[in-house]
Every structure is written in C-alpha cells, then in structure tokens.
C-alpha cells in the first residue's frame, strides 16, 4: 500500500488574535505545503480547532508537528488517520445548465445526496456535504456539465467513535477545563 501523501492534523489552538497567522507563517517559512485548512471555534470558546491537511512530501510529518508544537498558542496536535476518523467536507458548485440539462443535474445531485441551493435562468448552485472522496466523485461527474465556479471548504474531522481518540502526537492528551 502506498503511503498516503496527505495527513490530516487536528490542531487545538488558543482562540486569540493572530493565531492563524502564526500557523500559516510557520508553514510558509519552513517550506511546508498546506493542502487544505479549515478553522472555527470549538464548543469551548477559549479554543479553536484548525484542521490542516499537510502535504508530507514537502517535509517529514514529525518535523512539521514538532515545529507546530513550538508555537505558544498551539495546545494540542492530533494526527487523524483516515481509518480512525470521520472526515467531512462541504462543496458548493455553480453549474451552467440549459433547459435540457437542468433536470439531469438536479437528478445527479439527488443521487449524490446533494441539494440545489440556488436556481438561475442558465445555472444551478448545488451543495454537497460528505466524505471528501464522495465530493471528489461528484466533482468529476459534474465537471462535464461546465463548472462556472466551485468552492470546497477543506476537510474537518473527528475521531471515530469506538476507535482510539485520535493519536495525540503533541500536547496534552486532554485539555483541562
């Protein structure tokens, strides 16, 4: 089995001004590539969670984690293996459609469990939330209809229930609160 090129790091940070800039500037100056990044506050307003998909061909993952852990505002870093995590991502796509193809696109969206969230004279905007691989498949299929614009959020993830709570690779095993 090939080693995966991308790794998902779930990074718990203090919810303070400038923390995202610190993380992003660390990646930039150390030459690490970010494949995708999503950030939002957690249920505890003191902390935010940054989900970073790292391109590990640019440098060894352990070095990325060790450098990230040196940031004072980074509280905990977990590496989430796909097999032990529930990953999700959101996709919005605007597709150009004429009268003939409008029904086809709506039907296709239904097959993937996507919903139509905007309807124009010659275009539809469709939203799909789900596993990143499902989004990849949908994107490939819908591309043939002519994509006007497409936006994905980058993936977020939590450990699978019943699996270990992710691999805490740096920081506290649990945040005291």
């Amino acid at each position: 089995m090939n080693k995966p090129r991308h790794h998902l790091l779930s990074v718990l940070v203090e919810n303070k001004a400038g923390v995202l800039a610190r993380v992003a500037s660390l990646f930039a100056r150390r030459g690490y590539n970010i494949f995708s990044l999503a950030v939002a506050p957690t249920d505890d307003a003191r902390f935010s969670r940054i989900s970073i998909v790292v391109d590990v061909e640019s440098s060894p993952l352990e070095q990325v984690i060790a450098q990230l852990d040196k940031l004072i505002n980074v509280v905990q870093i977990s590496e989430l293996h796909p097999a032990e995590a529930r990953e999700a991502e959101l996709l919005l796509v605007t597709v150009s459609v004429d009268a003939d193809r409008r029904a086809q696109v709506i039907q296709l969206a239904g097959v993937f469990g996507a919903s139509v969230i905007d309807v124009g004279i010659d275009a539809l905007t469709v939203m799909l939330a789900g596993q990143p691989t499902a989004l990849d498949d949908f994107e490939n299929v819908i591309a043939s209809y002519g994509i006007v614009e497409l936006q994905r959020t980058g993936r977020v993830a939590l450990p699978r229930l019943g699996a270990s709570r992710g691999t805490s690779v740096a920081g506290l095993s649990a945040v005291a609160n």
Partner: protein, 587 residues
C-alpha cells in the same frame, strides 16, 4: 493601586528583577519613558536600536539572565529586528518592548506605524500586542517566562500609546495560564539507559557539546561526564568554554574553520553524543558525508531539533545539564563492573593525539611570509599573533566578544577559553557589527570582568557609534580592531573560490582614521603596526578603566583562516594550512 499602563509596565519589569535596560525613546513609547525617570532600573541610552538589541544580548550571554531593550514604534522597532533574529538563531533570552501607534490608528498607515508583531513572528519565540492596560502585568510575566524557559529565545511586547496611558488596577499574576506552553526539562529514564549502553559499546566516541550546555549551566556536568567516561569533547562556536580548552579531553572547535583533530574526530567517530547542539551546516559540512560511521545520541531541549538534520539512534528531549547528570548517574555504577576501564579508548586517544601533533593550528610568522615570496610588503601583523598576545596579557576570566568574519574565527581558534559564558559572538545569524554593542552589554552585566571585543574593520564601521554610549555611560570596554583593510572573509572566499577576483571588498586601512574616530567618541585610540608594539599597547589598554579603548591593529590582509572545509564539501575534504598540506597527503 491605580497605575497607567506605562507605570504598570515599568513596575512589571521591576517586579521581574530587571536591573538594566537598553533603549532609545521616540513618540509612541514616550509615556513609558516618563516613569523610567523614577525607576530603580538603570536605562542605557543606545545610539541606534540595533545597538540596544545587541547590548541586551551581550548582557544575557554573560549573565544568563534575560536582557531587556526598549524602543519606539516603526523604525525603532524595525531597527531591532536584526537583534531579535540574532537572538533567535543563538537562543539568547531577550525581552524587547516596542511602542506602537494608538490602537485606533493601527492599520491606517499612521506616522511611525509598523506591524512589528507581524514582522517579528518568524524571529521571536513569541510576541504580544497589548490591547488593554490591565493585561500588562500578565503579559510581561508570560514574556519573561517564555524567553527564559525551555529553549531560551527573544520575545517582543508591543504596547500601543493609548494603552500606555490607560488606567489599570495594579496586580501581579500568581500563576500563568499558558496551556500550549510546556517546556520539557527532565530526560526519559529509558532513553538515558539506551544512551548509556551506546556509550559503553563505543570505541571511538566524541561528545559534541553545543550552546545548550552553557545555557543550561551544564559545564560542570559536562566535565564530569567526559572524565568519567574518558570521552573527548568538541566545543562548537556557541560552546567555546563549555569545557576549558586546557582540559586534556577538550579537542576545541569543530566545523568549517574547526581544527583538524576536532573535525576529523567527528568524521571517524563511531558515536556522537550531541549535547545541546543542533547539527548546524557549519559543523556538519555536507550532511550526507558527515560522521558516516557514527551512531548518534542527540540531547536537545527543543524536540524539533531531534532528527531535523540527522536522525539519531537515541533522541532525548531534555535540558542538556539534566540529561548529562542522568547519564553520569546511569554510567557511574558501571565503573565497578569494569566496563568503563580507562584503557578501552586507548587506541582512539592515541589517534587523536597523533592528529593534534601533526595538525596543530598554524600560521606563518611575518618572517616566513616574507621568505615565501611576499617580500617588498611592509611586515604586517599576523592577526592570530595579536589574539594570542591578547590572551596572554589578560586575566583568566576575561570576556571575549567578537563580530563576524575572519577575526571571529581566529578569535575562536586562538583564544584559550577557560570558562563558560566568557565568549560572546553571533553564531547562527552571523551579524556583522555585533561585537561593539554586545561588548557594552556584557560589561554592564559583568562590571567586575575585563571585556575585550575583537572586531574586524568592516564590522566596526557598522555599529561603532555605540562607543559614544559606552563613553557617556562610563562602560570601559576595550576593542581590538584587526584592521586588514578588507571585508576579509568575503575576500577569502573570492581568493579561494572566485579566482582571486576581488569584487567590492576593499575598505582602506586609513579611511576612516580609527584613532581619530575613537578619540572623537570619547575613547582612547591607539594604533599598532609592528609585533613589538602589540604587547605594550594591550598593557596600556588594560590600565585604562574609566573609558573605552580602541586599538587599531594593522594586520596582514593576505592571511586566510585555516583549516577550512569549503562550503558544501565533506568534512573529509578539509583544507589545512599550506605548511601542513604535505602531511595530509601522507596520512
């Protein structure tokens, strides 16, 4: 007690035990300078903010306590970025306070506005923008904690002018809430046990001591470990003095301009015990060819250093002193079993001694230079001779400070370091102009010790104005300029690698007039041109204790730093002094 933010800032620094700060006022920091008048903290007025930063570094280098600098917003803040980066590369604890434009003006391109927290994100261990005067005591406490614990480093606290003027109720935090900051300290016992086994099995081991030994006050432990195991020690540029040069197990400096024995011992080693060192490119040369037979034990307090350059067999994230002491405890019982018998390294030590005899540090006497075809030139001073004479003429505990370039390498090679914290230089960043301000900071931190700066003429011209600070503040530092009229190290590379095409490296020995310049800055200025004058001039300088002294030593511009490992080459391809080259071919 109600205080302004500015008063709270000064009181916080006093509470932290700050005795001295180096700075230069300006608009945005004005409110903070007012309570400084009434403070117990001595303020030393630098002539340039970079100077203030290097003074804080010099102070921290020799005292082990954090240096403090305070400057204004905009250009004041950007001028100190070089000092921050220097301190970041060499893990020097300094706390820099910057003024900032008022909160409402931030982001408007206001007069003297610079996004200094953004600019310094990559060259500080952490930085803070204060948005509320009530946060000041907590942030100052956090800043000192971060600067001085774990791997030490620079921090910056940016204080907008309106925050300095806000009122707040004074407090001092009982504890710090920093859930993301957990500096390691003690080594993992299982890893110490693994390391001990590697040490016992090794037959060609070398201890590779770095700056972390000095920063952790680990020198006594290092000496004990070396003596217990009989293992020789190389001391990197940042660790000169960590083990006395006079110690029989001290091999001196490794690396690009290290001595043959230190470099080659690492290349031939079967075990490297890296203590607080980071496998810097100036030490390893070509990494893939570095110490090819060696297993590696790597102790560093920064986890990110373990495996960054070289993957160790045993990586220990810990304070260098604590790890060294743990190794001693693990190994001491093994003396009873005979596993640490002193003769087990006999062959290795014999080899090292033969290298030391065949390839000592060498330079031509002036007479030899002339005999080898350079006749017609004035008999110029050899820079190495000046340093050796300086060492012989100064007290054992003299603090030596250097800039960056050839003179720095000669200083590190030819000085005899006997104590930790007695050598102050810019290792990682290689900041020309470091020595004069750093020497001033060192003398402020250690007024009891004699402080000599060995500087190059190129370096001296970058920050010499701080001698005005030294004269005004009665800080009697002494500066030996090795004046070879060139940017010498650049010239050396052009000599060796650019077919002697000397592009933009000539500076002139007489422009500026160093003696006149020194005198104009309130120093005693002396000029030395012959070997006979060297000793008397140094003696004269040593007698002067009420003002700075500058000696302009006219040195030979043809002199190169040997040995040298060319950049990117393997350490096996070390170039020794020409007089030893035939021995190298024969060995």
């Amino acid at each position: 007690m109600q205080l302004t933010g500015a008063q709270a800032l000064v009181k916080s620094l006093e509470t932290q035990g700050v005795e001295v700060m180096f700075g230069l006022p300006g608009g945005a920091i004005l409110p903070v300078y007012d309570p400084i008048i009434d403070s117990s903290i001595r303020h030393i007025l630098a002539r340039h903010e970079q100077g203030a930063g290097h003074m804080a570094e010099g102070y921290a280098h020799v005292t082990g306590r954090p240096g403090v600098a305070i400057v204004t917003s905009g250009p004041g803040a950007t001028n100190i970025v070089t000092s921050l980066c220097d301190a970041y590369m060499d893990s020097i604890p300094i706390v820099v306070i910057t003024g900032q434009v008022a909160t409402a003006a931030i982001g408007t391109d206001a007069f003297q506005e610079a996004d200094i927290t953004g600019i310094t994100m990559g060259v500080t261990k952490h930085n803070w923008l204060v948005t509320n005067a009530a946060d000041i005591p907590r942030i100052v406490a956090e800043a000192f904690h971060v600067a001085t614990t774990g791997r030490p480093g620079p921090v910056l606290v940016d204080v907008p002018k309106d925050v300095s003027l806000q009122m707040m109720e004074w407090y001092w935090p009982d504890s710090l809430d920093m859930p993301g900051y957990r500096p390691p300290s003690k080594p993992e016992p299982a890893l110490i046990a693994d390391a001990a086994e590697l040490i016992l099995a090794a037959r060609r081991p070398v201890i590779y001591a770095g700056g972390g030994v000095i920063k952790s006050s680990g020198s006594p432990a290092l000496a004990r470990l070396a003596e217990l195991t009989g293992i020789p020690v190389v001391t990197t540029l940042m660790a000169r003095g960590a083990l006395p040069d006079s110690h029989p197990l001290c091999l001196g400096m490794p690396g690009m301009h290290g001595n043959y024995t230190a470099v080659t011992a690492m290349q031939q080693a079967d075990l490297l015990i890296a203590l607080g060192s980071r496998f810097d490119d100036r030490v390893t040369g070509k990494v893939s060819a570095f110490a090819p037979h060696a297993k590696v034990i790597h102790v560093d307090i920064d986890k990110a250093e373990i495996g960054k350059v070289r993957r160790p067999e045993v990586g220990i994230v810990a304070d260098a002193r604590l790890a060294t002491e743990a190794l001693i405890s693990a190994l001491e019982p093994r003396t009873v079993t005979g596993e640490l018998r002193s003769d087990r390294l006999e062959d290795w030590m014999g080899q090292l001694r033969r290298w030391q005899e065949r390839f000592p540090l060498a330079y031509d006497s002036p007479a030899e230079s002339e005999a080898s075809g350079a006749s017609g030139r004035l008999p110029l001073l050899k820079p190495q001779f000046v340093i050796e004479t300086l060492r012989a003429s100064t007290p054992d505990d003299t603090i030596l400070v250097s800039g960056v370039g050839q003179h720095q390498m000669w200083a590190s090679q030819h000085w005899r370091f006997e104590h930790p914290n007695s050598w102050v230089n810019s290792g990682g960043l290689g900041t020309m102009g470091f020595s004069v301000p750093a020497a001033i900071g060192a003398k402020v931190g250690r007024p009891d010790a004699m402080v000599w700066a060995v500087d190059g003429d190129g370096c001296f011209q970058m920050t010499a104005q701080e001698l005005v600070t030294a004269s005004a503040e009665r800080i009697p530092v002494k500066v030996a300029i090795l004046n070879n009229a060139y940017l010498g190290m650049v010239r050396q590379w052009q000599h060796m690698f650019y077919e002697e095409r000397y592009s933009e490296v000539y500076l002139s020995a007489d422009l500026p007039d160093y003696v006149g310049w020194a005198e104009s800055m309130g120093c005693v200025g002396l000029k030395v041109e012959t070997p006979e004058e060297v000793g008397p001039a140094i003696e004269k300088a040593n007698q002067i204790d009420d003002r700075p002294v500058v000696i302009d030593f006219r040195t030979d511009s043809m002199e190169q730093v040997y040995p040298m490992v060319p950049a990117g080459a393997s350490n096996d391809d070390i170039v020794v002094h020409p007089s030893q080259a035939s021995r190298l071919a024969a060995s």
